[in-house]
């Protein structure tokens, strides 16, 4: 006997009409549910996220079907992914049945669910169902019994768990009842291909045929209505993420990471800058809120949240959604709170991990822009003073701009104004130019260049703050003013390549300045030095040392420069002891997002938290690649009680000390 089964067994083909009737009803409820959400999205500004479909569609397929972003957190990610695959296969199985019984068979007499294919079909669906139940069980235990900190459980979670569990269980019971009546004794060879159905069917071994038939018919309808209920419930509950989160992959931001829209400051036609209302955000910002599943991965990684500050990226996203859907006239900044907005270090840990592809940082930046450009607000008076110092002297310390190049005294480096002959323009930035501790970075870098035969030039007093800290605090006007001065100076000397030792300058010159007309090649010292070593131009005298490495946010997460600095440090003889939070999961030093200019008054200190993590590795040396990080760590070591146990150094200092030919 060929392996197959009678579709609509026991319920009869008469169910087709009412079944499709109810299905269309469910579909209507489903469509209306999503349709109802459209006006809220429309409250945002226009933004084209359907260009470059050739790049977008693979992103959608990869992240949806392979669950790539979901799987970045292994435990719960795997539970979700396997559930998704299991449930997805069951859905496909149902579609195949529908395709055969209601289309190919009546129209073309084509039956494909038979023979070996049917056996495979049965087996795959049974295993899928089992996997889905087990994964759902895992998720249930996690959510309701383990209760991870920060995971909020709402009505939707109870509903989804109940619905999904009931659908899967009734599915197996219906199968078991059918098999008990038609397969287990009549065709045991085929029954083997439905192992779970077989197990369930055996439970009904003693039941009368009439009992089996009745129970099957009742449960068939129960299963059906549960499934229809599920479809109808999707847009009204968190289940909507099935569609919205997937669609959000399609709407990905394809610009290089960290790209911020450059405001046309001359255009005040709207009368407003930044976002104080949802109408000043884009539709994508509102859509993001709807795509959020409150999985709290962002919140868990947020350095501000972890140190007791009133910021949770998840909450910010949700608050935007709440305003957009329930009180669109409400003030965004009042809803989120200034303290929360100023607490962000723009470290991007939230965005990097988000399985729903939500863009947290730009939302916060837009609100900061409103605070800064429309209110003249700062996180504190010290930041106001630092900003005014940048206006007057081009550096946040308020030191004389004319002293900017003083760090290079006695070093072989050309000041472009006097001699513009140089292989590279070295852009040390404010900290390496003025801060006593950080000047070691600039001096080390020049020594490295000298040893490798690279002629480095500097702008000296013509250089100004790159504008990054104030830009991240929302002060686009000051950023564009200082950027324009830098760009003019750089262009004046026909520079071909710029190297920075500061990841903030690096990202700004390389990325942000493009919108303002600077397109010269910009590189960070870490990769530049790696290049010199690889080309054999820089020879090191390796000396064994043990260290832990801190990935600065703007080199690691923002620019994917993870391996190069490690390779350089290993070439210098270093043995790396990784911190638990490293690479893409690195924990911010606390200095990003302009916070380096601000006092940290709320919660505990981020830099102390990070230096404690470094100390926990047992390595005596904390190496970073950023003057902001170094500043934060020097402070964190002092105030966090790691003095004498941990030393903070910049990568350039390590390399400069091991230049070949020196002791």
């Amino acid at each position: 006997m060929e392996a197959t089964r009678e579709i609509y067994w026991n319920v009869g083909h008469g169910v087709v009409l009412p079944m499709y009737g109810f299905f269309f009803l469910a579909a209507l409820v489903f469509l209306y549910g999503f349709y109802r959400r459209l006006p809220a999205y429309r409250r945002g500004k226009a933004l084209n996220r359907l260009d470059r479909l050739r790049e977008r569609i693979p992103l959608l397929l990869k992240n949806l079907f392979l669950q790539v972003r979901v799987l970045r957190v292994f435990g719960p990610g795997s539970l979700h992914a396997f559930f998704f695959w299991g449930f997805g296969l069951l859905f496909i199985g149902t579609l195949l049945i529908m395709a055969q019984v209601d289309f190919t068979q009546p129209l073309f007499g084509l039956v494909f669910l038979k023979g070996a294919f049917y056996e495979l079909f049965s087996l795959v669906l049974d295993v899928s169902g089992l996997v889905a139940i087990v994964m759902l069980g895992g998720l249930l235990v996690r959510r309701f019994f383990v209760r991870p900190k920060g995971l909020e459980t709402i009505r939707d979670d109870y509903l989804s768990h109940t619905l999904l569990f009931a659908i899967l269980v009734t599915g197996f019971v219906v199968e078991g009842l059918r098999m008990a009546a038609t397969e287990i004794s009549a065709n045991p060879g085929l029954a083997r291909f439905s192992p779970i159905g077989l197990l369930v069917g055996r439970l009904f071994a003693g039941m009368s045929d009439a009992g089996l038939f009745l129970a099957h018919r009742v449960l068939w309808w129960v299963h059906f209505f549960l499934a229809m209920g599920f479809i109808a419930a999707i847009p009204y509950t968190k289940l909507r993420h099935i569609f919205l989160t997937s669609t959000n992959y399609l709407f990905s931001d394809l610009a290089p990471k960290g790209t911020i829209s450059t405001i046309n400051i001359e255009d005040d036609s709207s009368g407003s800058f930044g976002a104080a209302a949802v109408s000043e955000l884009t539709w994508k910002d509102i859509f993001d809120a709807d795509a959020c599943t409150t999985c709290k991965r962002c919140q868990e990684r947020c350095p501000a949240f972890a140190t007791g500050k009133p910021l949770s990226p998840m909450k910010v996203v949700k608050q935007i959604g709440e305003v957009a859907f329930t009180k669109p006239q409400a003030g965004l900044i009042e809803t989120v709170g200034q303290d929360a907005l100023w607490a962000c270090t723009t470290c991007r840990a939230c965005q990097e991990i988000c399985p729903a592809n939500i863009e947290h940082v730009t939302k916060i930046l837009e609100m900061r822009r409103n605070l800064s450009l429309m209110e003249g607000a700062f996180p504190g008076d010290e930041v106001r003073i630092a900003s005014e110092n940048i206006e007057v002297n081009g550096n946040p310390f308020g030191l004389a701009f004319a002293a900017r190049g003083d760090w290079a005294e006695g070093l072989a480096v050309n000041v472009m104004e006097r001699n513009s002959e140089a292989d590279i323009l070295y852009f040390p930035g404010c900290y390496a130019s003025f801060d006593k501790r950080n000047r070691e970075i600039a001096r080390s870098f020049v020594q490295i260049c000298n040893a490798a035969g690279v002629k480095a030039g500097i702008l000296g007093k013509e250089e100004k703050c790159c504008g990054e800290p104030v830009r991240k605090l929302g002060n686009e006007y000051l950023y564009q003013t200082t950027a324009a001065a830098n760009i003019e100076a750089i262009k004046r000397y026909g520079v071909r390549k710029i190297v920075t030792t500061c990841p903030h300058c690096f990202n700004t010159l390389r990325g942000d300045y493009r919108d303002l007309g600077l397109t010269i090649d910009v590189e960070h010292a870490a990769t530049f030095i790696k290049g010199l070593i690889d080309q054999g131009r820089l020879r090191l005298k390796p000396g064994s040392f043990e260290f832990t490495y801190h990935d600065s946010c703007y080199l690691g997460r923002y620019r994917d420069i993870i391996d190069e600095p490690r390779a350089v440090l290993k070439a210098a003889g270093g043995r790396l002891r990784e911190m638990e939070k490293s690479k893409y999961e690195s924990f911010c030093c606390g200095g990003g997002g302009g916070r380096v200019l601000a006092e940290e008054k709320l919660g505990t200190r981020i830099n102390e938290e990070r230096t404690r993590m470094a100390q926990a590795t047992g390595a005596p040396l904390l190496v970073s690649n950023c003057p902001f990080c170094l500043t934060m760590f020097e402070d964190g070591i002092k105030t966090g009680g790691s003095e004498g146990k941990l030393k903070a150094l910049d990568l350039t200092e390590i390399i400069a000390a091991r230049i070949g030919g020196r002791d």
């Binding site: 005040d268 407003s272 002297n393 308020g398 002293a403 007093k461």
Partner: protein, 258 residues
Amino acid sequence: MKILVCIKQVPDMESKFKVNAKGVWYEETDLAFRMNEYDEYAVEQAVQLKEQLGGGPEVTVLSIGPDRVLEPVKKALAMGCDRAVHLKDDDSSGKDPWQIASAIAGFSRDKNFDLIFTGMQSQDRGSAQVGAIVSELLGCACVTTVVHFAFNDGIVTAKRELEGGLKCIVRFRLPAVVTCQLGLNKPRYPTLPNIMKAKKKEIVSQAAAGFAATEALSGTGEFYVPAKKGRGIILEGDVNEMADRLIGILKEKTTVVR
């Protein structure tokens, strides 16, 4: 009501100062300039008063000097002043307070300003005379070193800071000259729309010479960096040791610890 705010552009005090060739003032190269701090309080107070009176008063900002002084003038406009007057004088740093004050008074004489705000002194010359001389020349009241200002029904109640931590309250009618001291207010940071609006505001440029007294009443004899006498002590090392050494120094050299 018509309000005048007199502001001066001064070098940032963190600049690298060099004595100029004549030896009577500083060299201007490598200096970063900004609005005199006390004049920022003056601008803020004028704008606050304008706001208090529902935008009625017209606030004119005035500055004397070369073209570079237009920078702080633009900032004052962005902070909320309505119009600006630039009394052009490429040698304003060579003028004594009497000449500067007579230029301001000369300009103001027929303009009927009800209130003139200015800083209590400049951060560079620090003579603290200009406001007082202007009031004398215009024959109106002068209230200096003001740290609190309230205007009600045509009467100003101002708090002045005196030496030795003393304060005094002064009441006066307009017209008057008010010189502003640190603590009077917190100058606002200009918003972007206001910076943009300021670009369209009127700036009238006139030669200062037409208003100024020709003769200086005082002149700078010499301008120099004083010879270093003492020097700071930086303690380094163990915290406890540093504390002991600090107490030692305080006992030995001061009367703080007895």
